[in-house]
């Protein structure tokens, strides 16, 4: 926490090293968070880049009130939710015959290499309701407390905890059934 405060202080004074340290420190967890929420590695990388660009643009006036990781994770979750909503709309348009038909296959210039384990986990995550997925990933990858996740999702702590537990139970059964196959 103090380490983050010092990094933010240096970042606000124009230190490139501080920005680089923040990026290196949280990049992996944020990528995993975005990948789990979107189930698309390319989109995940785009979102994390956008979040860091937004953060870099706030240099000189950024004020840290809670945890830096929590702040960045919230930014990623918000952008992921918006992207999911937009994708859902596009899908609905396609089904109605209003939009272009595009392939869902991975693009050849896929920049991030997702391991088998991550792919398996994200596929299992994709089967969970979005709120449960968000509660699990924000808690485990974003390091956020249930109270903070509750504020983000606009529900009580109890509901967030219940979403988290139910999600984990379901995820476990999905992954176990895949192993048994």
């Amino acid at each position: 926490m103090l380490d983050d405060k010092l990094l933010v202080w240096k970042f606000n004074r124009g230190s490139i090293n501080a920005l680089s340290s923040i990026y290196e420190k949280y990049r992996d967890d944020l990528l995993k968070l975005a990948a789990a929420l979107l189930n698309d590695i390319g989109d995940a990388e785009d979102i994390v880049q956008d979040v860091f660009i937004g953060f870099a643009q706030s240099a000189g006036q950024f004020q840290l009130t809670g945890s830096l990781k929590g702040y960045l994770a919230t930014c990623v979750a918000n952008r992921a939710r918006n992207r999911n909503i937009a994708a859902h709309r596009r899908r609905a348009d396609r089904l109605n015959g209003n939009g272009p038909v595009t392939s869902n296959l991975e693009t050849p210039d896929q920049r991030l290499m997702d391991g088998e384990e991550l792919r398996q986990l994200n596929n299992a995550m994709a089967q969970l309701p979005y709120e449960q997925r968000e509660a699990i990933t924000l808690h485990l990858y974003g390091g956020m407390k249930f109270r903070e996740i509750g504020l983000l999702q606009k529900v009580s702590i109890k509901t967030t905890q219940s979403r988290y537990r139910c999600g984990l139970d379901r995820l476990r059964s999905i992954l176990n059934s895949e192993v048994q196959k």
Binding site: R27, Q57, D114, L118, Y141
Partner: protein, 146 residues
């Protein structure tokens, strides 16, 4: 280990492999945005003091107090005294104006009977040397400034 802890650990420890080349490119984009924002910040805006005052509530209050104090001083001290001395000297252009009831009353308020006498003397000086015999008609025409 409980099954919940097991699955939590599995999710947390999942590996993500990042391509070094793309990572470099992403960071260079971030760096570009960072440098742009720094350049924007360093350009002179001309209203920096104004911004500082507006940002801090204490300096806001202090600025308001200073402004009120200055305006109070200006209203109650500065121009009133000056106006008294300057208006009289500006108003007393001709002997006629100096001898009006209003002008004499002002002089009395300013410095009592002595000020009235001074003003009369000044009016007489402006009129110049008098002849021994002066008709009332001549006196009136002279007072009228003709």
């Amino acid at each position: 280990m409980r099954p919940t802890e097991d699955i939590e650990k599995r999710i947390k420890n999942v590996n993500i492999i990042i391509d070094a080349e793309s990572n470099k490119r992403v960071f260079s984009n971030i760096l570009q945005a960072f440098k742009k924002s720094k350049a924007k910040e360093s350009t002179p805006t001309g209203l920096n003091i104004h911004r500082i005052i507006l940002k801090s509530p204490i300096s806001k209050l202090a600025a308001a107090v200073i402004i009120v104090a200055i305006s109070f001083f200006v209203i109650h001290q500065g121009p009133d005294e000056q106006a008294d001395t300057t208006t009289v000297s500006k108003a007393t252009k001709s002997p006629v104006e100096m001898m009006t009831a209003l002008s004499l009353e002002r002089a009395f308020r300013r410095g009592g009977i002595k000020a009235v006498e001074n003003q009369c003397e000044q009016a007489l000086k402006l009129l110049g040397p008098r002849t021994a015999s002066l008709s009332s008609q001549e006196l009136l025409s002279e007072f009228n400034g003709s």
